[in-house]
């Protein structure tokens, strides 16, 4: 469903992502983990069509993101790590705007909007201006807006930041439900427990390169007996485990 072939991205001479190749099948909840500055957000932004790679190709549901970006983006629901929104619109107006951008008809919009507003407990705030929302409320609204057009692929950067425990549980269940229904979720996260508990496959990125990838069980098997938790493996591979 998502095919990344040898992508490389540099910022003023500094390589953020180097020769990265990944393939994610439909219905997979893919966890993308790595330490700070590893290249996660750059990869996510390339996948969302926000950044252009210096080299390599990205195919979304078979569509080349570089040559047919609008067509490919139609298939994606993107949830960024920081929910900057149009502060002068209400939550409802923002959802309607997103629906119009993605070509969702009025009937579908009403049904989907009501479903996600209810799921994220946002009905009471839907007619309030976004400028009055808390960080968590904005994050929930972004999630609702990313799902409003029923995308085949959800790309999500640090989804749990700023959410309360109830919302985290809801989001985890939502992502599982989506993948059970054939959607693909590409999720970057720092929270290894979340990756461990809900992801079908995991890749660890460090200094712009993929160190390892596979199911959690596969990774643990590959690493040997001493690594019974994903955290141990992650710290070992990225060389950040030494606590003074």
């Amino acid at each position: 469903m998502i095919s990344i072939q040898n992508i490389t991205k540099q910022y003023q001479g500094v390589t953020a992502v180097k020769d990265l190749t990944l393939s994610i099948p439909p219905g997979c909840l893919f966890g993308f983990i790595g330490p700070n500055g590893a290249g996660k957000t750059t990869t996510i932004r390339i996948l969302a069509g926000i950044l252009l790679p210096d080299a390599g190709t990205v195919r979304i549901a078979g569509i080349d993101l570089n040559t047919r970006p609008e067509k490919a983006k139609q298939k994606i629901g993107f949830i960024p790590d920081r929910p900057y929104l149009y502060e002068k619109l209400t939550g409802n107006e923002f959802l309607k705007f997103c629906a119009d951008i993605y070509g969702v008809g009025p009937k579908n919009f009403i049904a989907t909007r009501d479903r996600y507003l209810s799921l994220f407990a946002m009905q009471a705030y839907a007619d309030h201006l976004i400028e009055s929302y808390s960080h968590g409320m904005k994050q929930r609204l972004v999630m609702a807006s990313a799902l409003i057009h029923d995308p085949a692929i959800i790309i999500v950067d640090e989804p749990m930041v700023g959410l309360d425990p109830a919302a985290i549980r809801r989001v985890k269940k939502l992502f599982r439900d989506l993948t059970d229904h054939g959607k693909t979720v590409f999720m970057s996260t720092h929270t290894l427990e979340i990756a461990e508990s809900i992801c079908d496959r995991v890749a660890i990125i460090h200094k712009g390169r993929i160190l390892t990838q596979g199911t959690v069980a596969e990774l643990q098997a590959r690493a040997g007996d001493s690594h019974d938790r994903l955290e141990d493996l992650f710290l070992d591979l990225t060389g950040s485990g030494g606590i003074p």
Partner: protein, 561 residues
């Protein structure tokens, strides 16, 4: 006191880093360009005030009186500007800055935080007024021949005035925030400030100051001004400053120093009063301002939504742009200013003494119509600079929504172009048609003006959107100010070059056609060819100036990291 200085260091270091960490190639040019522009304004202010003072000094009996009256007016206006500016900057610095929560969590006394905030607000709100008072005071020193030291002492008097205005502004804000939360207060102040400015601006224009240079009315007007022996208010800080400067100009240093001491002692007492007011009310006001107020805007219900057709992508983006624009109160203050500008512009044409001019009315009307076209297009450039140029930067950090959506950047920019084209096209045509009617121009000139304006409006908007995209800054706290940046100046220069080119291309052929009409002779072959080439070049240049900046803008946005 150390804590106060320490709290100011992040701002100072930030400024230093911004200057030092930019790439070595870009910054000197920008600095040079900005410094040159500032110097031009500075020199212009000096030249105008010097010329006026020399003119006044040549008038028997009332010359000195007029100079002092002008000084008194300048000080009163400066004090008002400093006060208004202080009110607006202190609202932001005291209650709305992003770093406030962090600063208040530090183990520093509240009065120290406030004093550091006030110092920053003082610099923000006063530097420009003080900078432009220097050439005015310098011209007084030169015309009154009162010596170089006088300028230094005058500077101290003006500094005291600015400190007083800033502190009074701070106290006013601390008290007002008890009633109105700071977020709303800033909008209320900006809108009401602009409204008052517009009314004063209109009133000042309606009293027809041009009578001062009308030989027939000159004596009556001057005698009237001289007869205005309004008593100065002894409790007004501006009076102490004025008295001090007047004494310095008349070389009465002793009384001048007494006035200055009075002024400075008041400034210091005002600072202490502000700290006392802050001790009593600041934290209360801050707590009120940090709390968010829910604003509800009810949209259409489900039944109505179902009946509506799904809007096109263009309409969806245009609606979002217009809705965000209309809900932003800071935009409204700008609209009031533009309206005042348009009214004054048209009013000026009703006062033109066309019938009393020694030049033939026919020539003059058409000459003025040409000048009018240039002026109206310059007004359009300024208005587009205020509204259309920041349009892309206004997306701010929410730009990711557009970047990740299935909309091409080119289409996104063209929609912005259309949103601003319609109102600005109407505005430009209203200006041109109304003023041409007032000038009683010929039908040919009327059609030429309308067509030229119609051709130039799209490239001006395209330059604003395109250059605004190239220099877009999504991290600005106030994107509206982006037109004063380097990119804004590039835009203004490009528009000025475009307007000048179009006017120059049209002026020659139009003059030839007129002269041929007056002399009742047919146009020569080369004249026809020249006119044809000029009139063909105009739409070609305009079209190129629409397409090129829009493409460059989209390409730059695409390549941004």
């Amino acid at each position: 006191m150390n804590a106060v200085i320490l709290l100011l260091t992040p701002g100072l270091r930030g400024m230093k880093n911004q200057l030092c960490h930019r790439s070595a190639s870009s910054i000197p040019w920008k600095l040079f360009f900005l410094a040159l522009l500032g110097l031009c304004f500075w020199a212009g202010t000096f030249w105008i005030s010097w010329r006026v003072l020399v003119y006044f000094s040549g008038i028997d009996e009332i010359g000195t009186l007029l100079s002092y009256k002008m000084l008194s007016m300048i000080i009163t206006v400066a004090f008002s500007l400093l006060f208004i500016s202080a009110v607006i900057t202190t609202v932001s610095r005291f209650y709305l800055s992003k770093d406030l929560i962090c600063v208040h969590a530090m183990p520093v006394a509240a009065w120290q935080v406030l004093l550091s905030r006030w110092a920053a607000a003082y610099v923000d709100g006063s530097w420009m007024v003080l900078l432009y008072l220097i050439p005015v005071l310098l011209s007084y020193v030169l015309v009154f021949d009162s010596g170089g030291l006088t300028l230094v002492l005058m500077g101290m008097a003006v500094m005291s005035l600015s400190v007083t205005a800033s502190v009074l502004g701070g106290i006013f804000v601390i008290i007002l925030v008890q009633v109105i939360p700071a977020g709303r207060l800033r909008s209320v102040l900006v809108v009401s400030g602009v409204l008052v400015f517009c009314l004063l601006y209109l009133a000042a224009r309606m009293i027809r100051p041009e009578q001062l240079v009308d030989p027939e009315a000159f004596n009556t007007v001057l005698l009237y001004i001289a007869s205005l022996e309004t008593p100065s208010y002894p409790w007004f800080p501006g009076t102490w400053c004025f008295d001090s400067i007047q004494n310095l100009l008349e070389k009465n240093t002793g009384p001048a120093l007494i006035d200055m001491a009075l002024s400075w002692s008041f400034s210091l007492v005002a600072v202490l009063t502000m700290l006392l007011a802050a001790d009593l009310y600041y934290k209360k006001g801050l707590s009120k301002s940090l709390g968010k107020k829910q604003k509800t805007v009810k949209g259409p219900d489900n039944a109505r939504l179902m009946q509506k057709k799904q809007p096109s992508l263009t309409r969806a983006l245009a609606f979002r742009e217009i809705r965000s624009f209309m809900r932003d109160q800071t935009q409204w203050s700008q609209i009031f200013l533009v309206l005042a500008l348009i009214i004054i512009y048209i009013y000026n044409f009703t006062l033109l003494p066309l019938d009393r001019s020694p030049i033939k009315a026919f020539y003059l009307q058409n000459l003025l119509s040409f000048l009018n076209m240039g002026l109206a297009l310059f007004v359009l450039t300024a208005v587009a600079g205020r509204f259309a140029y920041p349009a892309v930067s206004m997306e701010s950090e929410a730009f990711w929504i557009i970047r990740s959506s299935p909309v091409s950047l080119s289409r996104f920019l063209w929609i912005k172009f259309l949103v601003y084209l319609v109102p600005l096209f109407i505005m430009a045509q209203v200006l041109i048609i109304t003023t041409n009617i007032l000038l009683h121009v010929t039908v040919f000139m009327m059609i030429l003006s309308i067509v030229t304006t119609a051709l130039v409006v799209p490239p001006v908007i395209a330059l604003a959107i395109g250059i605004g995209s190239i220099f877009a800054d999504f991290n600005l706290e106030s994107p509206l100010k982006s037109v004063t940046s380097f990119g804004g100046m590039v835009y203004m220069t490009a528009c000025a070059a475009l307007v000048a080119m179009i006017i120059l291309l049209e002026a020659g052929p139009v003059y030839t056609i007129f002269m041929a009409g007056i002399k009742n002779r047919p146009l020569a072959g080369y004249e026809i060819a020249w006119s044809a080439v000029s009139f063909v070049l105009v739409p070609l240049i305009c079209t190129a100036c629409v397409i090129v900046p829009m493409r460059l803008g989209a390409r730059h946005l695409q390549q941004r990291h």
